[in-house]
Subunit: 237 residues, 2 copies
Amino acid sequence: MNQTHDHIVKSFDSELARLNAEIARMGQLAAEQLRAAMHALQHRDEPAADQVIARDHEIDQLERIVAHDALKLLVLRQPMARDLREVYAALRVSADIERIGDYAANVAKRSKVISAAEPMRITAGMLPLAQMALDSLEAAMRAYRERNDQQAMHIRARDAEIDALYTTLFRGLLTYMAEDTRKITACTQLMFLGKDIERIGDHSTNICESVWFLVNGEMLSGGREKADHTAESRADE
Amino acid sequence: MNQTHDHIVKSFDSELARLNAEIARMGQLAAEQLRAAMHALQHRDEPAADQVIARDHEIDQLERIVAHDALKLLVLRQPMARDLREVYAALRVSADIERIGDYAANVAKRSKVISAAEPMRITAGMLPLAQMALDSLEAAMRAYRERNDQQAMHIRARDAEIDALYTTLFRGLLTYMAEDTRKITACTQLMFLGKDIERIGDHSTNICESVWFLVNGEMLSGGREKADHTAESRADE
C-alpha cells in the first residue's frame, strides 16, 4: 500500500466516522423529541409540545448536512462495495430519522388538541404504543451503530406488535365515538396521533432494513408489509 | 477538450438521460396509480383497488434502480456543481414519487372499506381533492422534466389550496359523524383517505423544491409549512 492510497483510506474512514456521528446525533434528537412529545401528551403540557414543534427543524438541518457530506464523500473518495453501501445506508437512515422527527412533531401538535379535551382513559393507551415505538427507534439506532444485522432483523420482526396494538386502540376509539358523540373530535385526533406513532415504527423498521443491506449487500424486499390493519376495522365489530 | 474528457462527458450525459427516463416512468406510474385509486373510490370498484395495491411494488423497484444508478454515476463520473445537483435531485425526486405511490395504494386500500358502506355525498368530496393532488403531481413532474424553477414555485404555492380543501372536508366529516353515529367507521376511513391525498400534495411540493435546488443550487428552507390544519378542527365549531 503506497502512501497516497493510505492517505485516501484514512480520509474515507475519518469522513465516514463524521457521517456516523452526525447520524447518531440525529437519532438521539429524534428519540428526545418523541420522549418530549409523550410527556406533553401525558401531562397535557402545551409549552412542552410547542418546544417539540419548534425543534423539528434541527433534525431537518442535520439531514441536509448528512446528505451533503455523503455526496461529497461519494464524489471525492469513490468508495466501492461495503464502503459504498456505508454511504448509501447513511443517506437512507438519515432520511428515515428525519421522517421520525416529523412524526414526533405531529404527535406534539395533536397532543395540544387532546389536552383541551376532557381527560380520557383512551389517551393513556397511546403511551405504551409510543413507548414501543421509542424502544424500536433506539434499538434500531443501536443495531445501526453496531452494524448488527441479526439484531436488526429481530427489531424489524417486532414491528408487528406495534401494528397490533395500534389496531386495538383504533377499534377502541371507534367504539368510544359511537358511545359518546361529544368525544368524536378528541378520538379523531387520537386516531391520527396513533397513526403517527405507528409510522415511527415503520421507519425504525426501514432503518433495520438498511442495516441488513449495509452488512449483507442485499435488499430485503416485500418480506414485511408495513401497514396497519385499521382499514379493515369497523365500529360495529 | 481532449478525447477522454469528451468521452466522460458523453457518458455522464447519457447516463443522466437514462436516470431521467426512469424517474419520468416512475412519475407516470404514480399518476396512473392515483388515477386508478380515484376510479376505484368513485365506482366502488374493489378489483381495481386490488390492482392498485398489487402494482405498488413496481414503483418501489424503480426507485431502487434509480438509487443504484445514481450512486454508480456519482462514484464513476464524479460530477461537480450542476451535474452533482442533477444526481442529488434525482435521488430526492424518486424518493418522493415512491412515497406518492405508497399513498395512492393507501387510497385504494381505504376505498375498499368505503365501498362496503352506504353511498355518501361526502365520498364525492374526496374526488376534487384527489384531482388537485393529481394535477399537482403531474405539474411537478413537468417542471422537473423541463427544469423550470419558476413553474415549480408556482405549483408549490398552490399546495395551500389542497390543504384548505382537506381541512374543509375534515370538518364536514366530524359533523357527519356527530349527526349519525352509524357513519363513524366510513367517515374515519375517509379522513385517513383525505390525509393520504393531502400528503401526495406535500410530496409534489417536495419535488418542486428539488427542482428549485437543481436549478439554483440553494435549498428552500422553512418557507412553506407542509402541514394540514385539522389538528385545530373541532366537531363543535
